[in-house]
């Protein structure tokens, strides 16, 4: 795997970040997830938790138990070793009702019918590059570049839970209602964050995701099932 020179960035005294690059890039993300897996497997004194993102791994630490300068040097050395990419754990089939407020506008911007936007959005197997910002928000890599579109000039003050959207080269599954400047393509009944369910968070970083278009009747039925605690996303082997 291509192996750019990682950088050590300190975040005060309670965290440090190993940065592999500053782009949205599947190879960079694979390195991040591989380092995360290796770090988690070994167990490091003083490490509280880790947060993988597109291009960096943030390591939260207890500065009483470990010196972040020493730990940073050790992790940097680890990051420079050859890292084998971890295989995807699972591929989730995520049902989507494509009734988003921006579906037609996205089609118009690209000069294609709305049906072609859906076809291009449902074709790839995406990868969960990171979960972040808000609980269960799944940021996906693998968007068809012919759908890429810079974000809306003004964000919407609120978008519903389960919103499926695109922004730049990324696709997103949102878990809870929040403001968003992304383009809304549809809604999924899948709850990526559900505190009363096991598992609480459906996706792990590195999981595969495929979108499946469903009609409104199916959405209604699945939404009721999801409200009752079912996963409603089908899990397939990678």
């Amino acid at each position: 795997m291509r192996h750019p020179s990682p950088r050590l960035l300190h975040q005060g005294d309670t965290a440090l970040t190993i940065e592999f690059g500053d782009a949205i890039d599947a190879d960079l993300n694979a390195l991040v997830l591989a380092l995360d897996a290796r770090l988690t497997a070994r167990g490091w004194p003083g490490v509280v938790e880790t947060v993988p993102t597109y291009r960096s791994l943030t390591v939260h630490l207890d500065p009483v138990a470990v010196d972040p300068v020493d730990l940073g040097q050790q992790l940097l050395a680890l990051a420079r070793e050859p890292l084998a990419p971890s295989p995807a754990r699972a591929v989730w089939r995520v049902p989507v009702l494509y009734d988003g407020a921006d579906l037609d506008a996205v089609a118009e911007r690209h000069g294609i019918p709305a049906g072609e936007v859906i076809a291009r959005h449902t074709a790839p197997t995406y990868r969960v590059a990171m979960l972040g910002f808000l609980p269960g928000y799944a940021y996906l890599s693998g968007l068809d570049p012919r759908l890429a579109l810079s974000r809306r000039p003004s964000p919407r003050p609120t978008t519903p839970a389960g919103t499926v959207s695109i922004g730049g080269a990324q696709a997103l599954v949102a878990s809870i209602a929040a403001p968003s400047g992304w383009h809304l393509l549809g809604r999924t009944p899948v709850r990526s964050f559900s505190p009363a369910r096991d598992p609480i968070f459906l996706f792990e970083p590195g999981d595969g995701v495929r979108f499946v278009a469903i009609p409104v009747e199916r959405w209604n039925a699945l939404d009721r099932a999801a409200a009752a605690g079912e996963r409603v996303a089908e899990r397939g082997e990678a």
């Binding site: 975040q11 309670t14 940065e19 939260h60 500065p63 609980p135």
Partner: protein
């Protein structure tokens, strides 16, 4: 069953404990107290294990009543006039609120967050390993929401039985001293002038300040040629991110776990409470320190908290404290209704 009844409270009043670590990789920040030292002090005063759930009061004050039995309580953090049935009650000491008595807490004259510690803690169901409210996730606290008038909080443990009241000296907030930061992780995304603005200028806390973050008013902090968008990466409590218009936001306990604005610097953990306790309009200055200094200060703070039980002293009787408080003029304020 013993309970603490909420008769009135401000909108930013919540149950907090040591926080909910371990879920940040899924986008859920840890929450926990905005003033960890005040929170730890309250639990030591009450003989509670570290991290026992307490009530974090926002700037509005509140009124609380003991029901079903007596409660042992302690007030720490942003000091205001407090009274029990009209008699002033001093801060940073434990005391007993007898069944049916009402504790009134006025809005603080300075600072934002007070801790109302409860002997024995609260008997509430844990949400993902913690009682701490994370408002955006609707998790923890009472039914995943802030406290409001009429709530009854069941109290755990045994009723007080004649233990003596204890006191501790508070650690001053040193409002006039700068808040210390470690530069980075994205200091290289700013111009020299932008860095100089952060470290030399005076900022004020804006009206957009809550448990997620405090935005600051002041001169714009200039980004470099790379602009103000980065590919999202991890944040910490104390991250100072700078959005497009150049007005810094200090991220707090309920922050977003990742962010797409460059982070010019990070408030050191020992100083987080000092910025958390500043209210809209209060001045903020920053001073850069090395990571090693931040680590030393974090360890000194942890050692201080570990030594608190040895520092406890008898509080004397409540009447004596009331008399002192009266001399200080607090009793008059204590009769005011909270906002």
């Amino acid at each position: 069953m013993r309970a603490l009844r909420v008769l009135a409270c401000g909108p930013a009043t919540s149950v907090q404990d040591g926080g909910r670590a371990g879920w940040q990789r899924y986008g859920l920040s840890a929450s926990g107290p905005m003033d960890p030292l005040a929170f730890a002090t309250a639990n030591v005063l009450l003989g509670n294990p570290p991290g026992t759930a307490a009530i974090e009061l926002g700037p509005g004050g509140g009124r609380f009543r003991a029901e079903g039995g007596a409660l042992r309580l302690a007030l720490t953090g942003a000091v205001s006039a407090a009274s029990v049935e009209g008699a002033a009650m001093a801060w940073h000491r434990s005391f007993v609120l007898r069944e049916g008595e009402t504790l009134r807490i006025a809005p603080p004259r300075e600072g934002v967050f007070a801790t109302l510690g409860i002997g024995g803690g609260l008997d509430l169901p844990s949400a993902m390993g913690s009682l701490a409210l994370h408002r955006r996730a609707a998790l923890g606290g009472l039914d995943g929401r802030p406290l409001r008038e009429g709530d009854a909080l069941p109290v755990a443990g045994e009723a007080p039985s004649g233990e003596s009241d204890l006191r501790l000296d508070p650690v001053p907030l040193e409002r006039d001293r700068p808040v210390r930061v470690v530069l980075g992780p994205q200091a290289d995304r700013f111009t020299e002038a932008g860095l100089a603005t952060l470290l030399d200028a005076e900022f004020r806390v804006s009206g957009r300040a809550d448990r997620m973050g405090y935005q600051l008013d002041g001169p714009a902090v200039a980004h470099g040629e790379g602009g103000f968008n980065i590919v999202s990466d991890g944040t910490v409590p104390g991250s100072i991110q700078v959005p497009g218009e150049g007005r810094p936001i200090v991220l707090m306990a309920d922050r977003q776990t990742t962010g797409g604005y460059p982070k010019i610097a990070t408030v050191i953990s020992a100083d987080l409470r000092r910025i958390a306790q500043r209210r809209p309009g209060d001045r903020v200055r920053f001073e850069a320190v090395e990571v090693a200094t931040a680590v030393r200060l974090a360890r000194e703070r942890a050692a201080w908290i570990a030594s608190l039980p040895e520092r406890l002293s008898p509080a004397g009787d409540a009447l004596d404290r009331m008399w002192q408080a009266n001399l200080a003029g607090d009793a008059v304020d204590a009769l005011r209704e909270p906002d």
